[in-house]
Amino acid sequence: MRLCVLGAGAVGSAVVELAAEHGHVVTAFADSESAVVDADGIDADAVLSKKREEGVVGDADPESVFDADYDVLVEATPTTLGDAEPGFSHVERALADDRDVVLANKGPVAERYADVRALEAESEGTVRFGATVGGALPILSTIEDVGPSRVSAVYGVLNGTANFVLSRMAAEGLDYEHVLAEAQDLGVAEADPTFDVDGTDTALKGVIVANVLSEGETEYTLDDAEVEGIQELSGSMLDLAAEDGQTIRLIVEVADGAVRVGPRLVPENGAVAPSGTENAVQIEADYCGRLGITGQGAGGPETASAVLTDVERLAD
């Protein structure tokens, strides 16, 4: 497949780097300021080093990528709330040209799911967004395979940064501020980790799951989620939990048409208390009971591999 990759952050860059290995060609690549277009396929190494050294991917206008020859638009620009722009407009333009879309950006399917589905219905193109929930973990594809109507609940840990902070607090008896600073030094937490620790990122993923489960009956956005973060937790609260064989994790619960995110007491070595930056999700489904998916979810190459898996599925 010929890919047009928008966004040159960790995920977009990793998609460009790994595309050839998966048998795909990147014909257009853009960040917010610049673009490079080549119908024969861009030179990934050259473009990525240009991005690292000069801060741009090429000399072309970012707008020019939409005129390129491509089959699949990979939307990997930063997630934005509310109108989900500019990601949403990118999806709109690709679908208007009857191209497929693979999202790494959560905004369009978390904040404007019905709009995206309506545009998709008018188009020959298809939208896939497996990478938006749990990165490389096959959470949405498992729900798709089981059948959304047979899934009664999805819950677990979907933010590696918050999980890292809580597992360190529990292991070392340290307070939140201390561990967060350490996580930033290690590069686990971003310079501005607000969305990770206040529950917003986890809630967006929960909302996407809720949208998939509702199969168009109800549209969910971030406003429909009940969200509480981990900023107020102290080391002594984790100590109290440990005395009882439990720990605290930032958990999303999608069940009975509601999305709730907040710190929850869970069994210390249980299925939804992964260590470090891992994610862990349980899917409850009719007939097959509880399915567990655990692993390293986020990260550039991990999420890029999920994007390329979606591209494969479109090719089938």
Binding site: S152, L233, S234, L240, E243, A255, L265, R290
Partner: protein
């Protein structure tokens, strides 16, 4: 196994009825419908609960299967089942509260939890690293009536809101209390 399940046993049901004509009769219908044998009824008409309900104690005989159906039938009919056989307080819940626990009167907090009537505090562990005037945390173990986990948690949220305390709930989705 079927022999055991067919054994008729005596059960006590504690119900709370709305103070309206016909409620007692309505509460007995599921028992009759599902094959329970009525032994006695103690209708405490003059003894209204703090929430304005009338407590009723019903002794019946039934097989365990039928008894389960009776309790389910009562719940479906919207009858408040406070105690069913030996099932009272069969669910264990752990919560953590954090904030100005001492200043907001911890014993009053516990009294309020007890006053919710479908839960009782069975254990408490307090951590006040900076002394009684600062933020402290407590782990509370609650015994809740069967099936009332969501009601108990909702009451906890109200109490925590009112006292400006942070509540960490247990994960209960998917029946894991």
């Amino acid at each position: 196994m079927s022999e055991v399940r067919n054994d008729v046993q005596a059960y006590t049901l504690r119900l709370e009825l709305v103070d309206e004509p016909g409620e007692l009769l309505r509460s007995l219908q599921p028992i009759a419908e599902h094959g329970g044998n009525l032994l006695s009824i103690f209708h405490e008409r003059g003894n209204v609960t703090p929430r304005g309900y009338i407590p009723v104690e019903v002794d019946i005989e039934a097989t365990p299967d039928r008894f389960d159906n009776i309790v389910e039938g009562l719940s479906e009919a919207g009858i408040n089942v406070i105690q069913a056989g030996t099932e009272r307080y069969s669910e264990r819940l752990t919560i953590i509260l954090s904030g100005h626990l001492i200043e907001t009167d911890l014993s009053d907090t516990l009294t309020q939890i007890e006053a919710t009537r479908n839960a009782t505090v069975t254990d408490i562990s307090l951590s006040a690293p900076a002394g009684s005037i600062d933020v402290s945390s407590a782990r509370l173990q609650l015994a809740a009536e069967s099936g009332s986990t969501e009601d108990v948690l909702s009451a906890m949220r109200d109490i925590a809101d009112e006292k400006d305390l942070q509540l960490v709930e247990p994960l209960t989705v998917g029946g894991r209390a």
